[in-house]
């Protein structure tokens, strides 16, 4: 008997973030119903179709998770190794209930992360690098991404400057000091709704300023073209 997943609920609505809105408008591209039983059976039988679908389903998520936990060094190798572990475990029959495949993959990935950290600690403890100087991976983004981030930060700065100092203090506590929402609400006498509204206000202001900037850049390029013409 094949188990089929129920219809997926739509992604949540309610904020002004255009990028997450775009993601929400394409739920079928991001997350499609999968017949877990058929998929697991295909992988167990070593069929290419099953392996391909499994890879398509999980590779990006595994890559994201491993990069977030371990950094970008040797990422492709780690993704590949993790994928192989999942496939071999399925072939061995370690996954007894196909509909639990997602949770199973999560368990495997978490164990891999722990294993990589332990290996890194052991290596640093037991071995000394012959090369001096470069021993820590540079986790900075590439120059284009840095420039984009810088641009976004400038826009965000304009948006935040429009808020009151108290509102900025709340955001400083949340984003810089990483205090949990409950602590901030308790110490600054806020309700959860007020806290959420403040963040929405900041994001909405950011979006508004971004749109104005785009509009003014568009007008400028029109004037330049008119003059050149």
């Amino acid at each position: 008997m094949v188990a089929t997943q129920p219809k997926l609920s739509p992604a949540p609505t309610g904020d002004g973030n255009s990028q997450s809105q775009e993601a929400r408008e394409k739920p079928s591209k991001g997350f499609t119903p999968v017949e877990w039983g058929v998929l697991v059976a295909q992988v167990k039988a070593g069929q290419d179709a099953g392996m391909e679908q499994l890879y398509k389903l999980f590779s990006r998520g595994i890559r994201y998770y491993l990069c977030r936990q371990l950094g970008p060094q040797e990422l492709e190798d780690k993704v590949h190794d993790t994928f192989l572990i999942v496939v071999n475990a399925i072939k061995r029959g370690d996954l007894r209930e196909p509909e639990r495949l997602m949770g199973f993959v999560r368990t495997v990935v978490r164990r891999q992360v722990a294993a990589y950290i332990e290996q890194a600690v052991h290596t640093r403890r037991e071995q000394a690098d012959i090369e001096t100087g470069i021993t820590v991976a540079d986790r900075k983004q590439n120059p284009e991404q840095e420039a984009m981030l810088r641009q976004k930060a400038e826009l965000m700065k304009s948006a935040l400057a429009a808020l009151s100092q108290r509102d900025r203090d709340i955001l400083v506590r949340f984003y810089l000091k990483e205090q949990p929402q409950e602590q901030i609400c308790r110490e600054m006498d806020l309700t959860e709704t007020q806290f959420r509204l403040l963040k929405s206000r900041a994001k909405a202001k950011f979006g508004e300023i971004g749109r104005k900037k785009l509009a003014s850049n568009g007008l400028f390029s029109v004037f330049v073209r008119a003059q050149a013409g």
């Binding site: 997926l8 997350f31 994201y64």
Partner: protein
């Protein structure tokens, strides 16, 4: 739509398929998810390209917000210092200076008569915030000053923790113990004389036998 608390395995399985709300994703990125929410969000994200795109966009937004807030805070402190300096300048008028001069003379006379103890001032500790967070610069600490370090301790078990400081070859420079209380972990470490790359490691139990919980990279300049 916010994530709900879970009870039955069947509900749990269906929850893996539901796209998390933006606030749940934000908590995930800031390591503030409660255990049950973390399980569901992590499992869902492993198999959902659209939510990974949402996470990546949110990461950039959070990074931009942090940079903006840091700059605004820095400008605010500079403005406050400038205002205090101006208030000192305004105070430096001739009548005020005359009174100040007279008061200084009295104090000096008192100092000559009454010997003062010389206080040995220690170099104040530098405040360092460390977070094991992808995409952001590692923390930076100043050379030659004791360090008062604040660790991102979300998801760490409450209770005693061993802390180890190692250099980029893994050699131990210092170790100590601390405790995670209300998701906060702070330690005071001795000054580091040499610039370079260093790591703080957090262990449950002692350093030799305890489980490595988290590692933080930082630079001394």
């Amino acid at each position: 739509m916010e994530m709900e608390t879970f009870s039955s395995p069947h509900f749990m399985q269906n929850s893996y398929l539901t796209h998390p709300a933006e606030e749940a994703l934000e908590r995930f990125l800031l390591h503030q998810c409660p255990e049950d929410e973390l399980s569901v969000v992590e499992t869902h994200v492993l198999a959902c390209d659209s939510c990974i795109s949402r996470l990546e966009a949110l990461e950039t937004q959070i990074a931009a917000t942090r940079i903006a807030l840091e700059e605004l805070e820095r400008e605010r402190k500079v403005a406050v210092a400038a205002r205090q300096h101006r208030s000192w300048e305004n105070w430096l008028s001739i009548p005020n200076l005359s009174w100040a001069g007279a008061a200084a003379a009295v104090v000096a006379a008192g100092l000559i008569v009454t010997p003062q103890l010389v206080r040995h001032q220690q170099t104040p500790a530098a405040e360092v915030n460390l977070s094991a967070y992808r995409g952001l610069e590692n923390g930076v600490a100043p050379e030659g000053r004791p360090l008062h370090v604040h660790f991102n301790s979300a998801d760490l078990p409450q209770g005693p923790i061993s802390v180890q400081l190692v250099n980029d070859t893994g050699a131990e420079l210092w170790k100590g113990s601390a405790a995670v209380r209300q998701d906060k972990l702070e330690i005071t470490a001795p000054k580091i004389a040499q610039p370079g790359h260093y790591f703080f490691r957090l262990y449950a139990g002692n350093v030799q036998q305890g489980e490595l919980l988290r590692e933080f990279a930082f630079q001394v300049k």
